[in-house]
């Protein structure tokens, strides 16, 4: 607990722009060195110091003294547009809590969480074709079948031993790749349309598999220098979701070519636009023809009915929560708060994921 308190204190101090010496003075701690020891988990924080800290930072005690805090080495890379920095910071804290809880409970219940860090042999100077080929190779070696998008979340969880969480994110946030020292995770905004969710997931898989060679930025594409990495990630995603083996041949002269592509895209759970460019890069249609296809017709294959978003989180996540509750490592009420549900909705969530509900209260 002391280590987690230290991490939390450090995160709050850094977010406030305070030095260790300044915060030590505020909290009545002897000196900067002592605060450093608390942040490193080497010196215990007293109850009085904790009270002064929650009063100074104006946060509830259960938010401060939580065992579910990610280590300072954890990294997030967000795919977002137009989200205010303060909102993103808050959401990142929430995301960190989900991941830290999963990690903590998995360890407490003896679940193997060691990520399988399969690397892609790509660099910044790789071509977009190489990136797409790498995506195709993964689709084949993971045996994703004729509609890779359908099975990709489960495949990522099993092949990389990573966590793929469907979450209710702020509007504007599509998803994130997350790297904790002992967990890789991908968050996807479940409220986005299915084709976008699928493309985001495939894009984030690229980041997870190239984190060391091409570390993604905190905000995807924020700096022009990293733009190429994002383009490589998009090419990889195209190859992964639309490998050559599932691409049909098309008659470029057909008057309803755009509609045919739109229908094929709907079957593959990708957007018509994404399939159009994939067909062009795979040489199935020419770049000129691809450019000439009307965007509105490419959208025609999409079902008009509004589909319910996928269930929150994932089965793998819920299984660990269930074990944590059953073995008494987290209370039901605390789990409901973590999952942002009430207690009955939490029970429903276990049911939806076909995980036996671990409580009857």
């Amino acid at each position: 607990m002391q280590l987690k308190l230290g991490w939390k204190l450090r995160a709050l101090r850094e977010a406030s722009g305070l030095t260790q010496a300044e915060l030590a003075r505020v909290l009545g701690i002897e000196n900067r060195q002592s605060l450093g020891l608390i942040e490193a988990g080497s010196r215990k924080m007293s109850a009085e110091e904790l009270v002064r800290a929650i009063e100074f930072f104006e946060i509830p005690i259960d938010e401060f003294a939580t065992p579910f805090v990610v280590s300072p080495e954890s990294r997030f890379s967000w795919r977002q547009e137009g989200v205010a920095n303060a909102d993103l910071v808050r959401f990142e804290q929430q995301a960190g809590e989900w991941l830290a809880a999963w990690l903590e409970l998995a360890q407490a219940t003896g679940f193997d969480i060691a990520p399988i860090r399969q690397r892609l042999s790509l660099t910044r100077s790789s071509s977009f074709e190489d990136a797409a080929s790498a995506g195709e190779h993964i689709a084949a070696s993971w045996e994703l079948g004729p509609v890779p998008a359908k099975v990709l979340p489960q495949a990522v969880e099993s092949r990389l031993n990573a966590l793929v969480l469907m979450v209710d994110a702020l509007p504007g946030i599509s998803g994130a790749a997350c790297r904790l020292p002992t967990v890789d995770a991908i968050l996807i905004n479940r409220c986005e349309p299915d084709y976008r969710r699928n493309f985001d997931l495939a894009h984030e898989v690229f980041h997870v598999m190239t984190w060391e060679s091409m570390p993604p930025e905190h905000i995807d594409g924020a700096s022009p220098t990293n733009r190429r990495v994002e383009q490589l990630a998009d090419s990889f995603a195209s190859g992964l979701l639309m490998p050559a083996s599932v691409l049909r041949d098309y008659d470029e002269n057909s008057p309803d070519l755009a509609s045919q592509i739109a229908e094929a895209a709907a079957e593959l759970n990708v957007s018509g636009t994404a399939l159009r460019w994939r067909l062009a890069s795979a040489g199935k249609i020419s770049q000129d023809v691809a450019r000439s296809l009307p965007a509105d017709e490419l959208r025609n294959g999409r079902s008009k009915r509004v589909e319910a978003p996928p269930a929150l989180y994932s089965k793998k996540f819920m299984e660990i929560l269930a074990r944590g509750i059953a073995e008494g490592h987290i209370s039901v009420a605390r789990t409901a708060k973590l999952a942002r549900t009430n207690i009955d909705e939490l029970a429903d969530l276990f049911c939806v994921h076909e995980v036996t509900c671990p409580f009857e209260l």
Binding site: M1, Q2, L5, K44, M45, S46, A47, E48, L50, V51, I54, E55, P60, I61, D62, F64, A65, T66, P67, F68, A101, E104, I325, A326, E327, G328, H329, I330, S331, V332, A333, R334, A336, K337, N342, I343, D344, E345, F359, E360, L361
Partner: protein, 167 residues
């Protein structure tokens, strides 16, 4: 050990709600010295129950039915928050913080495995009790729809599991 009716019985939010749902609250508070903390009583009020179907509970009557409702200071709650152990919700943590602070022969009733683990690892195995057992102690009928986690057998089994872990 003194009989249950001579000891303070600390109950959490879940117990308050289950006893109301099963209509056994009155015999419970009529026969025992039932106490709680401010956070747990607040969580039991209609609208705050974190359940889909809200029980209609009159706040004034609920408060009056307790022998005592304790305010827990920030520093007492902070002391508990610094301890290792399972992750508890704020009401559960406040109840334990209050219990740790007391010197008398309190008994705690809660249906959550994590809350019970918290008490178990801090040496309070003999201070925890099920709602079913409390109802028996006052001679009340056991409601047929009493949920699993409020039963004596569930608590016994849980403690047996904890005991096996520590061997």
């Amino acid at each position: 050990m003194s009989p249950l009716n001579a000891r303070p019985i600390l109950v959490d939010t879940n117990v308050i709600l289950e006893a109301h749902r099963c209509r056994c609250w009155n015999p419970l508070v009529g026969g025992l010295q039932v106490e709680t903390v401010e956070m747990c009583i607040a969580e039991a009020y209609t609208g705050q129950q974190r359940r889909r179907d809200q029980l209609i509970i009159d706040p004034g009557a609920l408060r009056k039915s307790f022998h005592s409702v304790h305010a827990v200071s920030k520093s007492i709650t902070a002391g508990i928050a610094l301890l290792d152990g399972p992750a508890l919700d704020i009401g559960e943590r406040e109840l334990w913080a209050h219990a740790f602070h007391r010197q008398d022969a309190w008994v705690l009733c809660g249906p959550d495995a994590a809350s019970m683990r918290f008490g178990y690892i801090h040496g309070f195995r003999d201070r925890m009790i099920s709602l079913e057992e409390l109802l028996r102690s006052v001679g009340s009928r056991i409601p047929p729809d009493l949920r699993l986690h409020y039963k004596a057998a569930w608590l016994r089994e849980l403690f047996a599991k904890f005991a096996l872990e520590t061997k």
